[in-house]
């Protein structure tokens, strides 16, 4: 099953909103998937199909995970942006 982590500094606030929006997008398209939040630090020991994060910590995250797996969201409250980027990343996974 598809596994997605929403990552932010503490894994509490902005990643939570991002998680809510990613879940909405997956639900719209009836895509089975598990979405959880995690802090930047704790993401080190984890693996997932997609890591979603924000521009200010993407470099730190890229030190820990394959850049190919990382999706960068500018505005985590913008459902439109989340929809476009997450569905794009899911399509790319299905092609591989």
């Amino acid at each position: 099953m598809l596994k997605i982590y929403a990552v932010c500094g503490h894994g509490l606030g902005s990643s939570m909103m991002l998680k809510i929006n990613i879940r909405k997008v997956l639900k719209e398209k009836s895509i089975e998937g598990e979405v959880d939040t995690v802090s930047l630090g704790e993401s080190s020991g984890l693996d997932a199909d997609i890591f979603v994060t924000f521009p200010d910590i993407v470099d730190e995250l890229a030190n820990r995970h394959d850049r190919e797996k990382i999706v960068v969201i500018d505005d985590f409250s913008d459902l439109e942006e989340v929809r476009e980027k997450i569905l794009g990343a899911v399509d790319k996974l299905n092609l591989n």
Binding site: L12, S39, G41, E42, I57, F76
Partner: protein
């Protein structure tokens, strides 16, 4: 009779179970699948228990610091850290705080539905911390208990959740360029002060974003690392002030002073990391439920969200605010030392980044780069002084060895608890 007694007193009376039931209700309302309902409920309950485990670790890491400060400066020194202090509060008022969080959300929903203040607070951990603060001071300072405690606490929390975002919204419109998103964090009052102070310089001042700053502070975004690299030196300074010999013979039990300082700094970071993962697990299903419910009850309301919602809008102002707020808290600490205050608030990295950084962005919106530096600097001083005033008035949390660290607790906290002291006794 015995069975009902066990059910009511020991099962429902346990805050971990209670919060699990809140999640259970949320998951059922959201029409989730059975497996998700079960796992979500269990993880919420276990998240609460994890917070308690982290509390023990944090207390263990902090207690020698109290001894050190007593020995060297004869002061009560505390580290402001929201996670640490709420984990201690939750041991005593966990159930009441959890119910206040839910009640505060309901009051927020009600106000947003029936007034023109269309704001819904969705920063879950801030809702939790504020609710624990209200539970702790209403219980131990005002002497409230039972239903009364929960009703009064819910009203206080609900008022904050609804009206504080409204106060920040004029600045948010300026920063975001639209009116769809609100700011929901306990740093908000500091942001507003910073935004007001920015007016001294005026909008003609060069914008912070036109200035290049060297990068390389991004590793501070890893909260575990940033806490470890700030707490270990703070410990080391205190140990050096007390004298390595004194520490090795009286406090560390023979452990080398350098090893002792580093390990206690790291232990603090470890404890807070455990608490953070507990908070994350506990809120994982509750916040989505709040969001789902609010969308149905108050469609189109502005969600009030965590600090990073504005980080992209002015990254240089964020960095300026972070640095000058850090300097402000250090200046504040020296003011307390020089004034011979009984309580010294040590500098802390997390509020400096989230609250100080976002205050920098607000200051920049009204007063350019000067506003981005000045407001957070003043905010940092206020953070140290205000928290030092709050601490002796915080009832059961006075001796916790740690305290709240955010502008809300430093500005509104002393006023609120001072009022409770007046009416409570």
């Amino acid at each position: 009779m015995g069975f009902i007694n066990v059910l009511v007193k020991q099962v429902l009376g346990d805050p971990a179970v209670l919060i699990g039931l809140v999640a259970l209700a949320g998951l059922i309302i959201q029409k989730e699948k059975l497996t998700k309902i079960i796992s979500g409920t269990l993880k919420t309950t276990i998240g609460f228990l994890i917070i308690g485990i982290g509390a023990g670790a944090v207390v263990g890491a902090l207690s020698p610091m109290g001894e050190l400060l007593q020995a060297t400066l004869d002061v009560n020194g505390v580290v402001p850290n929201n996670e640490a202090v709420i984990s201690i509060a939750m041991e005593q008022v966990g159930s009441q705080g959890a119910l206040i969080m839910v009640g505060g959300f309901v009051v927020n929903l009600f106000l947003a539905r029936f007034t023109n203040f269309k704001y819904i607070y969705l920063t879950g951990h801030i809702m939790l911390y504020l609710s624990m603060f209200f539970a702790a001071v209403l219980f131990s300072v005002a002497g409230l208990s039972g239903t009364m405690l929960i009703v009064v606490g819910s009203i206080c929390a609900g008022l904050y959740f609804t009206f504080m975002p409204a106060l920040t919204q004029p600045f948010m419109r300026k920063i975001k360029g639209h009116d769809n998103i609100a700011f929901g964090h306990t740093g908000a009052i500091g942001n507003v002060i910073s935004g007001w102070l920015g007016n001294i310089f005026g909008e003609d001042t060069k914008d912070a974003e036109e200035i290049d700053l060297p990068e390389g502070l991004s590793f501070f975004r890893d909260s575990t690392v940033s806490m470890a690299v700030t707490m270990a030196p703070i410990y080391l300074i205190l140990v050096l002030l007390a004298g390595p010999n004194f520490v090795e013979s009286n406090i560390s039990g023979g452990t080398n002073f350098l090893v002792f300082s580093l390990m206690h700094g790291f232990r603090f970071a470890a404890g807070v990391t455990v608490i953070l993962s507990g908070v994350r697990m506990m809120l994982a299903e509750i916040v989505p439920a709040f969001e789902g419910i609010s969308e149905k009850v108050v469609p189109g309301a502005r969600p009030a969200l965590d600090c990073p919602i504005i980080f992209n809008d002015a990254p240089t102002a964020l960095l300026m605010g972070f640095l000058s707020s850090t300097v402000g808290t250090i200046v504040g600490m020296f003011i307390l030392l020089l004034a011979d205050a009984p309580t010294i608030i040590l500098p802390a990295i997390v509020p400096a980044f989230f609250a100080g950084g976002s205050a920098g962005i607000f200051g920049n919106a009204t007063g350019g780069w000067k506003g981005a530096v000045f407001g957070p600097f003043i905010g940092g001083i206020i953070l140290s002084l205000g928290t030092a005033i709050l601490l002796p008035m915080s009832g059961m949390l006075e001796q916790a060895g740690t305290t709240f660290g955010d502008p809300f607790y430093a500005v509104i906290g002393p006023i609120f608890t001072g009022f409770l002291h007046l009416i409570g006794g």
